[in-house]
């Protein structure tokens, strides 16, 4: 069921934030004439007898192309190559949405479809409800100038420009005068901690510094949406770690809507509010880190989660919600009406606490602990549930 895993995105975000980017049934197919597979009604597609009642003939905006493997096989048989297959997900305002996948899984294609660096073959990309794919060339340029920032794996700096000029480049493109754009560029340089290197050229900088330039440049226009395509993959492990911390620090200040691409599951876990796992151009599963760890949609996702330090990823809230279904009511009843004393009030834990923290608490209160979120009781956790959650699954 990998192909419909995309439907798992909840209508409301974890932070109750509105949807910023909605990627709907996006396909990217390479070949001589890929769009013919998405034109319904004409025979060119070679037996387009799919069971959609939509009768859709809007070309690539076919929002209701059914997600089946048959279509994929059909165009591969015709010598076309699929890079993104019916990809759907939503990104909420202010969240860090990580797309994780191995090389060739289509994750870079997807983020480029979001910015139309690659034209999707079919589907919709809605930003604040507006379909990006319907924008004309001029409108797209305007949109990119103000709404988007992107960071590239190999930095994508311009070798002939100094750090300052590289960072001011997006503003230069908008014909903003030199004094203003340099002033703004210096602000961002300060933000990423590159003071003193303004006049250096990219080749004189280390990889980490170059990527700081890339980050500063992408932030120069104060975009709403921030796309990062494996920004730290080309860096040494130590630097990578440091840059991740700084990235989180920046996001705390800036609250951008972020789509972050990585092939490193641990990086995804560290950074993500939610993670989409891609495989062969399709989304295998979308969910928060703990969701993927606790309920992997298939073997493929499970394979990634196997090495994960579960005790640090899964929270008390995650297993408490599981527990409520069968036990919460009775437990609550017992706790309130029975003793009603200090043991219960003492044995509380916040839902966001990791299992690691929960362990310490459970050691003191073998009978169980009440899990609360924002002062409200969510459920209860016992040592047995803890052990079950931590036990590796075969």
């Amino acid at each position: 069921m990998r192909s419909c895993g995309g439907g798992g995105a909840a209508p409301l975000g974890p932070m109750n934030a509105p949807v910023k980017i909605a990627c709907r049934h996006v396909w990217k197919v390479y070949g001589d004439d890929p769009s013919r597979f998405f034109r319904d009604g004409d025979g060119g597609g070679g037996g387009n007898n799919r069971d959609d009642g939509g009768g859709d003939n809007r070309g690539r905006n076919a929002g209701d192309v059914p997600d089946n493997r048959a279509l994929w096989e059909e165009f591969e048989a015709a010598g076309h190559i699929g890079a993104a297959c019916n990809v759907s997900f939503e990104v909420f305002t202010g969240e860090i949405f990580v797309i994780m996948g191995l090389s060739g899984s289509g994750k870079s294609t997807v983020v480029r479809c979001l910015s139309r660096l690659i034209e999707p073959t079919a589907g919709q990309v809605l930003v604040d409800g507006e379909d990006l794919l319907r924008l004309g060339a001029r409108e797209l340029i305007e949109f990119r100038r103000h709404k988007m920032g992107m960071v590239f794996q190999n930095f994508g700096l311009l070798p002939h420009l100094s750090v300052l000029d590289n960072i001011a480049f997006p503003l230069k493109v908008q014909n903003i005068g030199r004094p203003q754009r340099e002033a703004r560029a210096r602000e961002v340089i300060e933000l990423v901690g590159l003071q003193g290197r303004e006049d250096s050229f990219p080749r004189q900088l280390s990889g980490g510094q170059q990527q700081r330039v890339g980050i500063a440049r992408s932030l120069a226009v104060e975009p709403d949406m921030w796309f990062l395509d494996e920004p730290f993959s080309a860096l040494d492990p130590l630097i990578r770690r440091q840059m991740q911390d700084e990235f989180l620090r920046l996001q705390k200040r800036l609250h951008k809507t972020i789509v972050f691409i990585t092939h490193d599951f641990l990086e995804a876990l560290r950074l993500a509010d939610r993670i989409a796992i891609m495989k062969d151009g399709e989304i295998a599963q979308v969910g928060a880190a703990a969701e993927l760890v606790l309920n992997p949609a298939d073997e493929y996702v499970a394979e990634f989660t196997r090495e994960v330090p579960r005790a640090r990823i899964i929270t008390a809230g995650d297993i408490a919600t599981v527990a409520t279904v069968d036990a919460a009511a009775t437990l609550d009843g017992v706790g309130d009406s029975g003793d009603g004393d200090s043991t219960v009030t003492d044995a509380r834990i916040d839902a966001a606490a990791t299992l690691e923290q929960l362990m310490a608490r459970l050691a003191d209160h073998p009978g169980g602990v009440t899990v609360q979120r924002g002062g409200e009781t969510v459920g209860r956790v016992t040592a047995v549930q803890l052990i079950k959650a931590l036990a590796a699954r075969d």
Partner: protein
């Protein structure tokens, strides 16, 4: 043996059988050696008829262009003639200094002073004037074409084969239609040179634009750059290093063609100086003038390369120099003006200097009395050498002719005579030769398989019957079979079509003469250049010694290379042979050294760790891995040899080059076209076969 191999071998055996039959029959059927005139398709006549019509219809257009181009040309030449020589010298020094520093500036001063000293100032300035006009034309056209080809696949498809033709059709052949269209005069040289110099710029523009990193492009797009912004602010600057390499190559090509265009006369430039004295066998004079050309070539090469090198080393170096001596804010504006100012200052200083010296007569025109022109002394020295050492030079010449060139040309069957070899070719010797070839082939078969064995048989046959004694059916068959086995159907079609063209247009005999001389020179280049390359790859000092020589030889206009050989060996095939080798050996040396030096380090380390001796390391590890690269060098050598081959028609080589030269003298565009295309086709066929082999070998070896 695999079935596929068996089929290939069978095909070769069939070709060898056909060859044997044709050779046996060639006495009775002379059409096997060359088609009788009745069968020749009169392509040349058709083209001449077309040219007559075309000239009649469009002459006014080209004459107008001639008139239009005459203005900047006359202007540039008048300016250079008017400028006092110290001012011109100072200007070149400043340019050389900006390009690479003091050493080059000194060289520039010395080079320009030589021109004044030997009394070649005026023709030199005329040549420089032509170059100055043709370079911008070539650069602009090349850049525009390159950009267009980058933008549109359709343009690219048209441009690519056009570039191949422009670079392989001999330069003399260009001149004929241009001469007819533009009329007599110095503009012809400029136009021909602009056309000839355009391809390197197109190629480098394309290359540079293609190599712009995808992410740099995307970063521009995501900022919302418009089309022109993206091009001028992202693509063009990122492609700058390649563009500057294009400028360098275009400059050298433009100079080369301006010099060659002297052959049509009409301009008092330095090329004409060399050519006219060479024709009169005044070698001292032509050597002195030839040195001017060599100096101009080196100077232009080093200056344009200096700028290219800077662009290539990138903004890094420029940034460092800019960072010095200032800090903090506002520095940027400083740096900017700081860079512009010296330019302005230099220009102003130069203008003042020129203005001031213009009133000094000795500076205005270099005085006659100061001229040092030792042409007669050189001639006397040369006479002395030829008088006393001609026995030695003749011995060398005759040895090469009798034991190498003639056997290749007419075959051992005719070259071995009591006069030349001291023995007559008895049946016993013939059988002995055949047996030797057979034994060698058999040993090779046992050692390395059927391919070298077939090569030995074919080589033995060619050596016995001579390139010019080969009937055309087996020649075309063998070439096409090779093309097919190495490069597939397209290369095979090219081979068959190309040779058929030469056969049917009646230039087969000339083509075979060219093939023979080219093959003779390339063989020497491949062995000698390969050996030098191996040596240079093993020894830094040799490499450092060879590099400037190679650079100089390669930037030299082709005329100049003829002079020294002509001085000692007179007119004839041997002089052509040597001149071709001198020019064409360079790429083999370079590619061999480069290929051997860049063998994957891991393979070399592994071999050393296994205990390979140096010899084993070279022959068992490095050579096989470097061979595809080395063959690319040999490929370049073939192309260079064919280019030089045409020029050597001036000193009496025969073949297609001679035909082109005759066509030029008679203003016969048809013959020029047919013979020129013949050269181009030989070059392209060889190029495609070798490239295909190299690419296949590389992919088998899993390297790039």
């Amino acid at each position: 043996m695999k079935p596929a191999d068996r089929r290939r071998l069978a095909a070769w055996l069939a070709v060898i059988t056909v060859a044997a039959v044709c050779i046996a029959l060639r006495g009775r059927a002379p059409w096997l050696l060359d088609l009788p005139p009745a069968f020749v398709v009169p392509v040349a006549d058709w083209f001449n008829a077309f040219m007559v019509w075309f000239i009649g219809a469009f002459k006014w257009l080209f004459r107008a262009a001639n008139w239009l181009l005459g203005w900047p040309l006359a202007g540039a030449q008048a300016l250079l003639q008017w400028l006092p020589w110290p001012a011109t010298m100072a200007a070149f020094c400043a340019l050389a200094f900006a390009a690479s520093g003091w050493k080059l500036a000194l060289f520039a001063a010395a080079a320009l002073f030589y021109m004044a000293l030997t009394g070649h100032w005026s023709p030199s300035m005329n040549t420089l004037g032509s170059v100055l006009v043709s370079i911008p034309l070539a650069l602009a056209a090349g850049f525009a074409l390159g950009v267009a080809a980058h933008r549109s696949k359709r343009v690219d498809r048209v441009v690519q084969p056009l570039l191949d033709l422009m670079q392989t059709v001999p330069t003399f052949a260009y001149l004929i239609p241009i001469l007819l269209l533009f009329g007599f005069g110095p503009v012809v040289g400029v136009v021909a040179s602009a056309i000839y110099a355009c391809p390197p710029m197109v190629r480098n523009t394309l290359l540079g634009l293609r190599r712009v990193p995808r992410e740099a492009l995307e970063s521009g797009l995501i900022c919302g750059a418009t089309g022109p912004q993206l091009f001028w602010w992202v693509q063009a600057p990122s492609a700058l290093p390649a563009l500057m390499v294009g400028v360098n190559q275009t400059t050298m090509a433009a100079l080369s063609m301006v010099i060659i265009a002297a052959i049509i006369g009409g301009s008092a430039d330095i090329g004409w100086e060399v050519l006219s004295t060479m024709r009169k066998a005044q070698f001292g004079q032509s050597l002195l003038a030839g040195i001017v050309i060599a100096l101009i070539a080196m100077l232009l090469d080093r200056i344009s390369w200096g700028f290219a090198d800077r662009a290539g080393r990138g903004a890094a170096a420029a940034g460092r120099s800019r960072n010095h001596g200032r800090g903090g804010r506002g520095g940027r504006g400083h740096g900017r003006h700081g860079r512009l100012k010296p330019w302005l200052l230099t220009l102003i200083a130069l203008a003042i200097f020129a203005g001031a010296t213009a009133f000094i007569p000795a500076a205005r025109v270099y005085p006659e009395a100061w001229v040092f022109y030792p042409a007669d002394a050189i001639n006397a020295a040369l006479r002395f050498v030829t008088a006393n050492y001609s026995a030695a030079t003749d011995a060398v010449k005759h040895a090469a002719l009798f034991y190498y060139l003639l056997p290749l040309k007419i075959g051992l069957s005719q070259a071995v005579t009591p006069f030349s070899w001291g023995v007559a070719l008895t049946p016993g010797l013939v059988w002995g030769y055949a047996a030797a070839v057979g034994v060698i082939a058999w040993r090779l078969f046992a050692w390395r398989g059927w391919r070298p064995a077939v090569a030995a048989v074919v080589g033995g046959g060619v050596l016995y019957f001579g390139v010019t004694g080969l009937p055309w059916p087996p020649f075309i068959l063998a070439s096409t079979l090779l093309a097919w086995q190495v490069g597939g159907r397209r290369v095979a079609l090219l081979s068959a079509g190309g040779w058929a063209f030469m056969l049917l247009t009646g230039v087969w005999a000339q083509a075979m003469l060219s093939v023979y001389l080219c093959a003779a020179a390339v063989l020497v280049c491949a062995l000698g250049g390969g050996a030098l390359g191996v040596w240079a790859s093993a020894n830094r000092r040799v490499s450092n010694f060879l590099r400037p020589i190679n650079d100089t030889l390669q930037s030299m206009p082709l005329f100049v290379i003829l002079i020294p050989f002509l001085m000692f060996f007179q007119i004839g095939e041997f002089t052509s042979f040597l001149a071709i080798i001198a020019y064409a050996i360079v790429p083999t040396i370079r590619y061999t050294e480069h290929g051997l030096r860049h063998v994957p380090a891991a393979s070399v380390e592994a071999a050393i760790a296994m205990g390979c001796t140096r010899r084993q390391l070279l022959w068992e590890v490095k050579m096989p891995l470097a061979l595809p690269e080395i063959m690319l060098g040999v490929n370049q050598t073939v192309l260079f040899a064919l280019a030089m081959l045409v020029i050597t028609a001036l000193v009496g080589s025969r073949g297609l080059g001679q035909s082109v030269y005759i066509a030029l003298s008679n203003a016969d565009p048809g013959l020029g076209l047919v013979a020129g295309l013949g050269i181009a086709l030989i070059a392209i066929i060889a190029d495609r076969i070798i490239q295909a082999w190299s690419a296949r070998r590389k992919s088998t070896l899993g390297i790039a």
